[in-house]
């Protein structure tokens, strides 16, 4: 630890301590009469209004990994990395269409997770299990990647990364995660909901200052785009092609659009996104938020531009090279070289706290999935709310320890590969959840077979894709029918085709339909506003 930036490090420690106090205090924020209920621990009492939901969803969906990885991608390949902006624009009209309906269905039956909806809609334990397992499987590496985000900041600060001793090296991460696990265990969703305020304030301040201050120091946007364009035009010696382009090329348009669409469709299939939706107090809270959450997309777009700023800063290029060409360090390095130490500390805190909020929500969401769709469904159908809450708390600890193990034991590439797979996998639950909101035409066995086909196809296709110096899992896009597209979209198409073809076949074979407990297909029971619903105390 020879080159620790003391000022920046002190600011990071102070903000971490402040957030820790808030996390523990959150247990007393609008305390519930009975805190030992999954609606309380796992969904913050299902009472978040427009304001809190905005911070919660924003803090939840725009993760630290995004803040590191998106500019890193732009830094490396240019315009193609901007699909992340398209994706976060596209996601809101799509969410506008189905999320209010999903919220109502969940509120009406007291569901805490989307897997319960799939199970209830089709009367199929298997389908519920498939959705729950996919969610847990996709979430674990996602949590691990939040740690990768923290790690890149710590490396640049000179904390841990250079030490030879593995334990000392990882100590800051381990401490941060133990503290996070403790207050999440205690306060449930209320903790990340409150901390999200701090996270977002820090992110907005950092981004607004950076977007005004850094270009002025670098000699204006003309210079920044010029430097980026010059780099992107140079030929990459390993591939023999240019590194990238400043504008998406015609051959890259399919990949760009399908990555944006696939990611947008998949985002709200992730358990942590659904948790943010289900925690809303009323249906209109979601609609209002859809119109307000793009504020974060704008921030993401500006953060993506950090990639070009980093490219136009020679010291950052040198630093990335010195760390073995790890472009994930470009944003922390940009802060280090452009800001005075104290403000770099604010920026680092924003990224670190930006990792803690989603990590907490993801572990809670995965714990909810395990509790309702595995523990309740297969082991203890008569569990009391208190038992459920105890199981969920433990499950959230297990998720975090698992993610920590992922981040520390397995190499980083493995986590990133798994996260790439997670995006492909999670989209395969779309038919069971979203299409299920509109029609019960699909046969439950057809949906399960479709899901399995999409999972297998996507995994095999990703395995067979080389790239970036790797023989397997090298890219999230692959050529299908003459166009290079996002593998998740291709797998999704396979999934849908199988489900559509098998449904009439299974009906003809007279395989029984499941009992639809949601009653969504009866117009009188359309839970347009959830007013006819009980507020979800009973377990279906």
């Amino acid at each position: 630890m020879s080159h620790v930036n003391t000022v920046a490090f002190t600011i990071v420690v102070v903000s971490f301590l402040a957030v820790t106090v808030i996390g523990f205090a959150a247990a007393r924020w609008h305390p519930a009469e009975d805190p030992m209920h999954l609606n309380e621990w796992g969904l913050g009492g299902r009472g978040f209004g427009t304001f809190v939901s905005w911070f919660l969803l924003g803090g939840d969906l725009y993760t630290a990994y995004t803040f590191i990885a998106v500019p890193a991608l732009v830094y490396a390949v240019g315009a193609a990395g901007f699909y992340a902006l398209s994706y976060t624009i596209l996601v809101w009209p799509i969410v506008f269409i189905f999320a209010p309906r999903l919220w109502s269905a969940a509120r009406a039956r007291g569901y805490v997770t989307p897997a319960e909806f799939a199970r209830g809609r089709y009367g199929s334990q298997g389908l519920g299990l498939a959705v729950a397992l996919t969610g847990i499987l996709a979430t674990m590496p996602y949590i691990a990647l939040q740690l990768v985000g923290i790690e890149s900041v710590l490396t640049v600060m000179g904390v841990g990364g250079s030490s030879g001793n593995a334990f000392v090296k990882d100590l800051p991460l381990i401490i941060a995660f133990i503290v996070l696990a403790a207050y999440t265990y205690l306060a449930g969703l209320r903790a990340p909901a409150l901390i999200a305020f701090v996270k977002d304030a820090l992110i907005y301040v950092t981004v607004i200052v950076a977007i005004i201050y850094i270009p002025a120091r670098l000699g204006g946007w003309g210079h920044i785009f010029g430097a980026a364009s010059e780099h992107l035009k140079t030929v990459n010696p390993t591939t023999g092609k240019p590194f990238g382009s400043l504008i998406v090329t015609p051959s890259g348009e399919w990949a760009y659009a399908s990555l944006a669409l696939g990611s947008a469709l998949a985002l709200f299939m992730y358990p942590h996104a659904a948790t943010g939706v289900f925690a809303a107090r009323e249906r209109k809270v979601i609609r209002r938020n859809v119109a307000m959450l793009p504020a974060y997309s704008l921030v993401l777009g500006l953060i993506a531009l950090f990639g070009y700023m980093a490219r136009a800063t020679p010291a950052v290029n040198a630093g990335v090279k010195a760390h073995g060409g790890n472009s994930q360090l470009s944003v922390p390095l940009l802060f280090e070289h452009m800001f005075p130490s104290w403000f770099a500390g604010i920026g680092y805190s924003a990224i670190i706290i930006g990792a803690l909020v989603p990590a907490a929500i993801m572990s809670i969401a995965a714990a909810n999935l395990f509790t309702r769709s595995i523990y309740n469904e297969f082991f203890n159908p008569d569990a009391t709310p208190a038992q459920e809450t105890r199981v969920a708390r433990l499950a959230s600890l297990v998720m975090k320890v698992g993610a920590l193990g992922f981040a520390l034991e397995l190499n980083k590439t493995f986590s990133i590969n798994l996260q790439l797979l997670g995006g492909i996998w999670i989209l395969q639950t779309f038919p069971a959840i979203v299409i299920g909101l509109y029609t019960s035409w699909f046969h439950r066995f057809a949906l399960i077979t479709g899901w399995a086909s999409g999972m297998v196809y996507g995994t095999v296709q990703a395995y067979r894709t080389p790239g970036g110096g790797q023989a397997h899992f090298g890219a999230s896009t692959a050529p299908v029918f003459g166009h290079v597209i996002y593998i998740a979209i291709a797998a999704f198409a396979v999934n849908l085709v199988v489900a559509v073809v098998l449904t009439p076949l299974f009906r003809a074979l007279r395989l029984p339909n499941g009992y639809d407990e949601t009653q969504l297909s009866q117009p009188s029971a359309d839970p347009a506003d959830g007013s006819a619903a009980t507020t979800g105390t009973q377990v279906p």
Binding site: G47, A79, F82, L85, S86, I89, L90, W92, P93, I94, F96, I97, P100, R101, G220, W221, G222, I224, F225, L246, I247, V248, T249, P250, E253, Y256, A257, A260, L261, R281, E282, R283, K284, R287, R288, V290, A291, M292, P294, A295, S297, L298, G301, L302, L305, Y438, P523, D526, A528, D529, G530, S531, T535
Partner: protein, 87 residues
């Protein structure tokens, strides 16, 4: 996404909402619209400023849709939809 607009609303509202949402989705998804560098806005190539401006534009479109839904007599008649804290 044929059934994009929520059911049980007036046809005019449904059509309007469907169109607004399709514009929002299409403006993002049809990449050739914006995969070009001209015209520039300041030093920003079209590709960048188009997408950055698209963000608030889509927000406004979604906001219009939610206003349209709220203005629906059927929706307004539902007390719970406008009610505050409900337990």
């Amino acid at each position: 996404m044929a059934q994009s607009a929520p059911t049980g609303k007036r046809p005019v509202t449904r059509v309007a909402i469907t169109v607004l949402l399709l514009v929002a989705i299409g403006g993002t998804l049809v990449v050739p619209i914006y995969a070009r560098s001209m015209p520039k806005l300041g030093d920003f190539p079209f590709f960048y400023w188009y997408q950055l401006i698209l963000v608030p534009a889509v927000a406004v479109l979604c906001w219009l849709c939610s206003v349209l839904l709220r203005a629906e007599p059927t929706a307004a008649a539902r007390p719970a939809d406008d009610g505050e804290m409900r337990k």
